[in-house]
Symmetry: C2
Subunit: 379 residues, 2 copies
């Protein structure tokens, strides 16, 4: 296959280089002006080059993106929103191939080339949402890779039959199964977690558990998850999503939890909400605990906010954690790109030979500039 | 003078209307399709129309907007940043007409037509910054109106001579004089405030005081400010900027402070930082305490963040305060437009006859959509 060369870009803001692609992979990164490789050439005009963005926590199955405005309704609690969603989703065609494709196109528009998406699995939908997301991704021809988490939004144990659905989803190829507030929603943290880990062990899939429960109740569940991760040998295959409690407990307790999280090889996914407690960021980094950034749901029955821009989430993360120095700002971009790869099934995700040919070109002076700059206005 | 008609826009998302301008004022708002008024006509293409945005808290005198990237330095405390700014500003041409004009152009680009800007006054600069901002605004021919606050960034009492400078600034036509953390910076809350209020009384100018001091120390200073506002008869002419303490103290204490603030006719300006405690928003609204939204400094020696988009600040305000219903989201836009007028010397600021012909046309379905939508990507 003839190669494609994008000439004169600045990988990570560094010296000008030519990126050479062969099919779906990067085959070479050469100093700009090297002898031409055969094949098509595109002028990269000195733009900053980054690896494709990774959306580590999304809900592409449920959104009214691209449809007329939907006013927010329902009671403003987690339970209220779950009930509101279940009452209204059918009228909006949620889930459907069309909905998932609209969301994924919005992701691609912002340079996202890989995502981990939670997809609702419940007694009303069965596995229909997962099928819709798979078909939507297939329709887009690999422009964005989608890792699927079978997600029990409406609870696990409190809805008899959901554990079986999750097991079926895992058997049918879901990459991971999810969980949600084992204490807060199911009122039985040990029961939910034992159920989830049994499936993960049996089916050889990973876990990604939504944990909104706050303070010490959340901290306690971090420990239950870490215990079970070590016991089942699932180190490196378990993610806690949101996990606000880690930011909320006192520093000494944080340090205990961080040790447990690191020991169990648990990763964290965050959407960096403005009202949340900052995560103990330097400590996470020092312990090499993987952190992924995601958009969460966008324009859905939970909230009218959001779009497909993961770099904007990285900006929110940076502001929430008070990052200002160039190196810190660069790290925030790194979380949204290179370091995010592990959240979408990639061992390596970078601008380097052998990596997938996912490149985003940005009109920015350097990496921190790419993070903080909005080149155009809103419209 | 011949009039100008913008046809077929949707004021505040309502029924299609023609906006008729005579010179600098709106002369009529007529149902779309009314008999044409003599003069030029522009097709508004069904766009949503809002009053121009008001940036109620800016620092247009100090920024490296439009210049090459400046890495953040200095010690990460308020004192450290003040010192860093004083050490580095000359090399960046801060302040200057050029700097202020670049920032004001960025404001205009985002639809801001009026701003209140704090402008540094200190022993090094004297009143030079104020003159630069005045000239920059004049160069832009009224596209954006600038209300100037003479701002003692480096402290008041601790820098002998600054009170005199503020007095001179007021005598020379500054709209307001500023203050900064009377306790935290000057270590003498009564002394700084008595000095500022004496000038305000003598010169008939307003006050706008930066108050970062947290918790009960900040709350105490709210009370000192309210006492002096009532005593000097300056009700309606005093603003507290940032004023984080109000969001930090317990609800009963908040209620006491809100009563004092309302009684003294004090207004609040906020930039809705992600890490700040939410303000007691429904209570502020119920007591009709004016709240203005501002960008704060953008790309300056304090931080690399920010741009000129006040609607993005309104979005941050909405997220910080958990606003989701249509009416709530509309209120956030209202703060950035109509209700912001009083922060820039306007009794009325709306899409109505007699108001200034400041109109922003937005490609959005309705007002909440204008708030949450980013139509284009970043670049």
């Amino acid at each position: 296959m003839a190669s494609l060369t994008v000439t004169g870009v600045r990988p990570w803001g560094g010296a000008p280089a030519d990126l050479v692609f062969d099919g779906a992979l990067i085959s070479d990164v050469r100093p700009a002006g090297s002898a031409p490789v055969e094949g098509e050439r595109i002028d990269g005009r000195g733009l900053l080059a980054l690896p494709g963005f990774v959306n580590a926590h999304a809900h592409v199955d449920k959104s009214w993106w691209g449809k007329p405005w939907v006013s927010y309704g329902g009671v403003a609690t987690t339970e209220g929103r779950i009930a509101h969603e279940r009452a209204e989703r059918d009228a909006l065609g949620i889930p459907s191939i069309e909905v998932a494709e609209a969301v994924l196109r919005e992701f691609i528009r912002h340079g996202t080339t890989a995502t981990r998406s939670h997809v609702d699995v419940d007694l009303g939908l069965g596995l229909r949402g997962i099928e819709a997301v798979r078909e939507a991704a297939a329709n887009l021809g690999g422009a964005v890779e989608v890792e699927i988490v079978a997600f029990p939004q409406d609870g696990v144990l409190r809805r008899p039959g959901v554990l079986d659905l999750l097991d079926q989803a895992a058997a049918a190829g879901a990459d991971r199964i999810g969980g949600i507030d084992p204490a807060g929603i199911d009122r039985d943290p040990v029961g939910q977690l034992d159920g989830l880990f049994a499936i993960a062990e049996r089916r050889g899939v990973g876990l990604d558990i939504h944990l909104h429960d706050s303070g010490e109740l959340g901290a306690f569940q971090y420990e239950l998850i870490a215990d079970r991760t070590v016991r089942t040998g699932l180190q490196g295959k378990v993610t806690v999503s949101h996990g606000f409690a880690l930011g909320e407990v006192a520093p000494a307790r944080q340090a205990q939890l961080l040790d447990r999280i690191a020991e169990a090889g648990i990763s964290l996914a965050t959407v960096a909400p403005v009202r949340s407690a900052p995560l103990p960021w330097p400590d996470l980094s020092a312990r090499q605990i993987p952190v992924g950034l995601g958009t969460d749901g966008i324009r859905d029955l939970w909230s009218p906010y959001g779009d497909g821009d993961v770099l904007r989430i990285a900006l929110g993360f940076a502001r929430l954690h008070g990052l200002r120095a160039d190196e810190e700002l660069t790290t925030a971009v790194d979380l949204a790109t290179r370091l995010g790869g592990s959240f979408a099934g990639r061992d390596r995700h970078d601008l380097a030979p052998g990596c997938r040919a996912d490149v985003v070109l940005v009109d920015a002076e350097n990496v921190p500039d790419a993070l903080v700059r909005f080149r155009r206005g809103r419209w």
